[in-house]
Symmetry: C2
Subunit: 433 residues, 2 copies
């Protein structure tokens, strides 16, 4: 499957003439994620992150410097057409950009299209069609299951079915957009009647996001062996959750207002090509676990279909900000704590003929490590709020308070390779209105 | 609330010069629903149903015959902008059309914009943003709850929370589009392991659909007293369901592949203005039921917020079609079997700040009457397939077979008023691929 091919664009010896790009934690020349930005003096357009700069793809296209298919796709804003590019076109774009940014002799031509990232606004990169959230972090599913159903944390279907549900597309916002603490119906076990009030149990969820690139026709499932071809890119996703709403509303049809008030995504679309060197084997299923049905099973997917990705959650409270203290790390852990690969999610989602389209977003569900330092939500870290976290500056947190900022980060690493990152997925909690 | 005002456009004495419109069961001059159609010789454009004809709104707009705001909105295809028209603009359009079609002296001007409906194709009227399905048919919720949880049919939250969940927007199709029998994971209680196979328990669900017109900003709930202003129109919705997938997958996060393979809507958007004469009081809650929280409670909504709408489900099997037999009626009943008004659905959906937008679709959930002749799904009619229906031609049905066509219809009636209908929501089951 040449989709996972590592080539000259991944060469660790490649140098980049853009100041600050060399050794950049997120956006060295080996990454080249795309997104939608507005420079200080213009409207939204396609760009590529390189170090602390953004390269204006639309300007390059207008200058005749990009492959024809890419130039056409760049004209559509937001970037659904760019996301839908065939892998071969995406590779051609990547090769062209890698050449421009490493070849000092192209500098004079390309440099006018560079903007300092700090002067630009970043937008949601695409118009999100449908948003689906899965539940593949098995340690998260076990932790949460234990809180809601102590006797029955993992249900009998969990190891057969990549459990998922539909989420809300309209309230997805790019990193940096603050969220308003939502109001909703709550009724604790001890309350006589429900009340409508601001959530007292606001939580984050650390997830990996998958952007669908090429779609499939209604009625035509995507075979597991072809699922990778339908993935256009990756992002970080914070699935903000109001745990008190959730507990009261979620039976029998699942989460609704507990999760649809705001979801945050990192604005840069990290391409499958950029992640090629970081493909690893899916961890083997524990002894005794069932083998998935054949529509979910592909040997190549099992041997190369996971990602060597380290995920981190940081919290910066209002008091930390005022005191000039850095954010504290709440958790960190590998993305390999997913029970299913992202390709299995695509195959399952379309197994009944459901049509996916460019700009659809799949969330993996919260990815938690087995141990507490890798739990991907406060619900797990504080055992449902019962064991508040000490933040080290005298503050504690059961759930999030107004003014708290949650920052998600991700880094892909492999021996002998230049690490690449996803940039931040960050948002601050505003008081209820 | 003048949104529900009955005016001269509802006058039963109005006559219409379009042949066959007078006395038409669905589309007399008192209705005037809008939709997206293609005439035999042209591309998709806005139209209004009148009898067995379609009036080309875009042609009228280009001829300078429509109010400016309407003319601008008609230029956008699909018709999200038309759906987002302010109620005052919608009323102006209605008044203009009512005048054109009743005034014989306008006939020469308007008639060239009329197409025989049989020569036209009907499309999905808008680009569906997000689709949300509720569960407000209390008799349905009780019937289904009894099958899945005999000891506990209605959960404790049901009478406090308008239960809903997010559905799939991409697989919504207009009436007339056949659906492919989906494959999926099934595991019966007696099966040792799950299997991936075509559903053996394909069902329909009779629902009313609500099109959102004016949206709200993220973070800003819609007050119940203003909810009606955000409703742009109504349709019929068939929420096709694979009951065997559903039973195996739905815990803990709700229905997913059991319902996202295809949903059918009637193509005509029946406006709130057309339904003004058919507004009735919401049936009083049974003694002992809790009074809803204030964000869901509005006296005007209770006194005028329901609809006098009769809903009907028909089945035409392949054998009936071959034998020239008419479809058989499976059930019929009033829409007032909803435990919540559609305005309460809008207020609840946005109560946490979730943003609704023009083109969002809300389904009510299956509307069943208390007695068997009003059950809105086969799951209820056949008690989960255990008591197959006799169709009267020697055939029986537990669940749907390939070649079966389900037809939903709705008629609004009130004393002294001309009844109006929704047109058909029809689709035929194709064999699994």
């Amino acid at each position: 499957m040449n989709w996972w091919r590592t080539d000259a664009t991944h060469d660790p010896a490649l140098t980049c003439w853009v100041e600050g790009a060399q050794g950049h934690a997120d956006f060295p020349i080996q990454n080249l994620p795309f997104g939608l930005f507005s420079p200080a003096d213009g409207g939204p357009r396609a760009g590529v992150a390189i170090g602390e700069h953004i390269l204006d793809l639309t300007a390059l296209a207008e200058g005749g410097l990009l492959p024809a298919a890419v130039a056409v796709a760049c004209r559509e804003v937001p970037l659904n057409a760019l996301l839908a590019l065939a892998p071969a076109d995406r590779r051609a774009l990547r090769a062209a950009l890698s050449g421009f940014l490493s070849d000092e002799s192209r500098r004079a031509t390309v440099e006018p299209a560079l903007h300092a990232a700090g002067d630009c606004a970043l937008h949601l990169p695409v118009r999100v069609g449908d948003y689906t959230d899965f539940y593949v972090g098995i340690h998260h599913a076990t932790n949460i299951g234990r809180l809601f159903r102590p006797e029955n944390p993992l249900l009998p279907n969990y190891k057969h079915v990549p459990i998922g549900y539909h989420g809300r597309a309209s309230s997805i916002r790019p990193s940096g957009t603050p969220l308003v603490r939502p109001k909703g119906q709550v009724k604790g076990p001890a309350d006589e009647a429900p009340a409508y009030r601001p959530t007292a149990r606001l939580d984050y969820e650390l997830e990996l996001g998958v952007w669908i690139g090429a779609g499939n026709a209604l009625g035509t499932p995507v075979p597991i062996a072809e699922a990778a071809r339908h993935i256009g890119g990756f992002c970080l996703l914070n699935d903000w959750s109001a745990r008190d709403f959730q507990a009261w509303e979620y039976q029998p049809l699942g989460p609704f207002l507990a999760k649809n008030f705001h979801s945050s995504v990192s604005p840069w679309i990290v391409t499958p090509e950029a992640l090629a060197p970081f493909r690893i084997a899916q961890p083997p299923r524990p002894d005794g676990d069932p083998k998935p049905l054949s529509y979910l099973w592909d040997e190549a997917d099992q041997s190369h279909g996971a990602l060597a990705l380290e995920l981190v959650v940081l919290l910066e409270t209002g008091r930390m900000r005022q005191a000039g203290l850095p954010p504290v790390r709440l958790s960190h852990g590998p993305a390999s704590n997913m029970y299913w690969t992202v390709q299995q999610l695509v195959a399952h989602h379309s197994a009944n003929g459901c049509n996916l389209a460019a700009g659809d977003l799949l969330g993996t569900g919260t990815i938690s490590a087995p141990s507490r330092d890798g739990f991907g939500s406060l619900m797990e870290l504080t055992v449902g709020g019962k064991e508040p976290l000490e933040l080290g500056n005298g503050e504690t947190r059961g759930f999030l308070e107004d003014g708290d900022t949650i920052i998600l980060r991700a880094t892909a690493s492999a021996p002998g390779r230049v690490s690449i990152g996803f940039g931040e997925c960050r948002a601050t909690v505003l008081p209820a209105r």
